[in-house]
């Protein structure tokens, strides 16, 4: 077994490489993904090894990237599009919500669009505007799309391969602030034995309150749990992994035990994922809840300038504050 310690960027790169090897129909396309290997180097070396017909440096236009990916998919390809930063996916929004999400449905199943759209998302990297957005709710609200977010290198490695193997379109969110964090990755891991792509996972068991997170906030939630443990409070941490469809079985089970739930994400709170999670958990666990499900999220402002972003983003303290508030209800 080839378990190696590597960054999420390297793990994604290895996952993409394996997908390119596994299926000749897989093509990677996007801005700067070829010679440069992507601005984050996720596709580093892939064009060199697989050629310009498999890894395409495209003209600079996101609607064009996704629109031509649709055509390639109709032709039988499995395009993996890279959107350079979260804030630049919007020019492709029409192609994604009106075409990618709907063509299988409109064709009554005759057309399949196995397209993956990779989006580095979230803040915390000190970037300028449009480089730290969390647009996942825009996609998870859209019927016909599947939406996932990975949280660590091992997960990234497997999930990106699963997303490419999936016959439905997948919006694949990568927590860019975690790109350089390292973890153990089993490069020989078979996809067969792996946890399904559209399943959540309990990352840490606990008894006092349940914390739901995904993407970049998973680590934050784990840190909060460690800190809480020192204070004698036991938090159960669930990594959602799949944002659409949601897989809330483990969350329901957990909240029914703990009676308290806090949901964490970077995106603004209003009509974010957290709203849906709160609504569903309340429906399912109504008689178990000791307090309403509370949300610890970004504020309802545009993403602020870098020097104050740490105040905008949920951190360990704000997660603990949220937990405290459920206890003080």
């Amino acid at each position: 077994m080839a378990a190696k310690t590597m960054t999420m960027v390297k793990a994604l790169n290895a996952g993409l490489r394996r997908a390119l090897e596994a299926d000749a129909k897989v093509v990677i396309m996007g801005e700067d993904v070829g010679k440069l290997g992507g601005v984050f180097r996720v596709t580093d070396g892939l064009q060199k090894d697989f050629g310009e017909n498999r890894v395409l440096d495209t003209p600079l236009a996101e609607s064009g990237i996704v629109g031509t990916a649709i055509g390639l998919a109709i032709r039988g390809y499995r395009p993996v599009c890279e959107i350079q930063f979260d804030g630049f996916v919007y020019p492709a929004y029409d192609q994604i919500v009106s075409q990618v999400a709907k063509m299988h449905y409109r064709s009554q199943g005759k057309l399949r669009l196995p397209i993956v759209i990779r989006i580095p998302f979230g803040g915390g990297i000190g970037a300028v505007e449009h480089h730290s957005e969390s647009p996942e709710a825009y996609f998870a609200h859209t019927a016909g799309l599947k939406v996932v977010a990975c949280a660590d290198p091992a997960e990234a490695y497997v999930m990106v391969q699963q997303a490419i193997a999936c016959d439905d379109p997948v919006i694949f969110f990568e927590p860019k602030r975690r790109y350089q964090e390292k973890g153990e990755v089993d490069l020989d891991a078979s996809l067969d034995g792996a946890r399904p792509l559209f399943a959540s996972r309990v990352l840490r068991q606990g008894t006092d309150a349940t914390v739901l997170a995904y993407g970049p906030m998973v680590r934050t939630a784990l840190e909060a749990a460690a800190a809480a443990a020192e204070d004698g409070r036991s938090l159960e941490i669930i990594d959602l992994r799949t944002l659409s469809p949601l897989d809330l079985g483990p969350a329901y089970e957990s909240v029914k035990r703990t009676g308290r739930c806090v949901v964490v994400h970077e995106a603004p709170g209003t009509i974010g994922l957290g709203a849906e999670l709160a609504a569903r958990i309340t429906e399912e666990c109504f008689y178990s809840l000791e307090a309403p499900v509370l949300r610890v999220t970004g504020y309802d402002t545009p993403y602020p300038t870098a020097r104050v972003e740490e105040e905008f983003l949920p951190d360990l303290d704000r997660v603990l504050d949220g937990v405290d508030r459920t206890f003080g209800w």
Binding site: I70, R75, Y77, Q95, Q108, K146
Partner: protein
């Protein structure tokens, strides 16, 4: 800066609106035509792209084109009637654009792939597809529901311009498959045709499709039916110069063809498609035509255009000129024309019958095919829906 006619220029400038434009200029030297409105054959003509265009049809092929034109018009009229009678929710008529559609549709080779808008019923017919296929969409019983790959004819696309990028991606795939530029044999090599309207040329997506196609040298023909209107807006709201000239700025040829001339449209399209399949890259064709009817059955064109304009185009009718030509050249006689009309009526009646018989979908099917791999969420919503529906049973609800 010339200082000559200053007074006149100053007057012009003061209007914030644009000075007179010429995008709709009807018959210039730049228009490829092989059959005049009067039915005179022009043997060969050199297009603005320097290419010499001609056709070499047998009598039976000429008759076949006439047959196509008449049938697609008749089927279209039937669909309009069906809409009026409440059998279709809406209909987008191709009236006036028959030649543009039959000419280009017949120019396709079997291996070619077409990406239509919502108006290409004539192209669909020429692909040998049952004309009932798109009517589910207009009746409201489905949203297309056909297999684009099987028919080599994509589903109708309503979001203006979106399909031009799909077409481009598909054409890139042809090149990636090595199915372009391998020989001069027309049976070898595939090409794509992307249909769109004059209004669509203003969408970013269409211009991005031009860029992608040019950069990747994709085997694609951009076929713009300039029917002079985008709903109520005349072509001047989209461009100041003839549309076909847009192409040169993107690095590939543009040709303007008389879109009411089925022969010229065929010649120009076939040439462009074969060029594409042989590795010469994209071409844009502007088929200069006219939407004789309303935009769709919900539209009222009397609000925005005069009868005299419509009449002027009536004189350029795409079918009358072929009929005149066939008669004058004695390629067809009265018996033939009658037979074609009868065939058209028969096809229309068959269409009508089958439309009336189209069943409404079962409500529960609205949950089908959201995904290839259905989610538990959809399964649950379907189950609840079934249960809820059942709760009314026997209640006379």
């Amino acid at each position: 800066m010339a200082k000559g006619d200053r007074g006149a220029r100053l007057r012009d400038r003061r209007t914030a609106g644009p000075p007179p434009a010429e995008p709709g200029a009807p018959l210039g030297d730049d228009l490829v035509q092989l059959l005049t409105p009067e039915g005179e054959r022009i043997d060969r003509v050199t297009g603005p792209d320097g290419v010499e265009y001609s056709v070499d049809f047998s009598d039976s092929e000429y008759r076949g084109l006439y047959r196509d034109l008449v049938v697609v018009r008749r089927l279209d009229a039937e669909s309009t009637a069906l809409q009026r009678q409440g059998e279709l929710g809406i209909w987008a008529s191709l009236l006036g654009q028959e030649a543009a559609q039959v000419g280009s549709g017949r120019a396709l080779r079997p291996q070619d792939m077409a990406f239509p808008t919502y108006r290409e019923h004539g192209v669909l017919y020429c692909r040998g597809i049952d004309p009932i296929m798109p009517l589910g969409l207009f009746r409201g019983v489905d949203q297309g529901a056909w297999d684009p790959v099987e028919h080599k004819f994509n589903m109708y696309t309503i979001v203006i311009g979106a399909q031009t990028l799909h077409a481009t991606g598909y054409a890139m795939g042809i090149a990636m498959d090595g199915k372009v530029g391998n020989s001069d044999d027309p049976a070898d090599g595939e090409a794509v045709i992307a249909y769109f309207g004059d209004g669509a040329t203003s969408q970013g997506d269409v211009n991005e499709a031009f860029i992608w196609s040019s950069v990747y040298h994709a085997p694609i023909v951009f076929f713009c039916q300039n029917n002079q209107y985008a709903i109520s807006e005349p072509i001047e709201r989209q461009t100041r110069i003839p549309l076909y000239r847009r192409a040169a700025g993107f690095g590939f040829p543009g040709v303007r063809v008389d879109g009411n001339d089925v022969l010229a449209t065929y010649a120009v399209t076939r040439h462009a498609l074969d060029n594409a399949r042989h590795g010469q890259g994209p071409t844009m064709i502007e088929a200069h035509t006219y939407r004789m009817g309303a935009h769709t059955t919900t539209d009222d064109p009397t609000r925005y255009r005069g009868i005299s304009e419509v009449e002027a185009w009536q004189a350029k009718d795409p079918i009358a000129r072929v009929r005149a030509f066939l008669a004058k050249q004695q390629i067809a006689d009265a018996g033939f024309f009658t037979e074609v009309d009868e065939q058209a009526t028969a096809e229309a009646m068959s269409l009508r019958e089958r439309v009336l018989a189209m069943p409404d979908p079962e409500p529960v099917t609205l949950f089908d095919h959201v995904f290839v791999d259905e989610t538990p969420q959809i399964r649950q919503q379907r189950a609840r829906f079934v249960e809820y529906q059942a709760s009314f049973e026997g209640s006379g609800h």
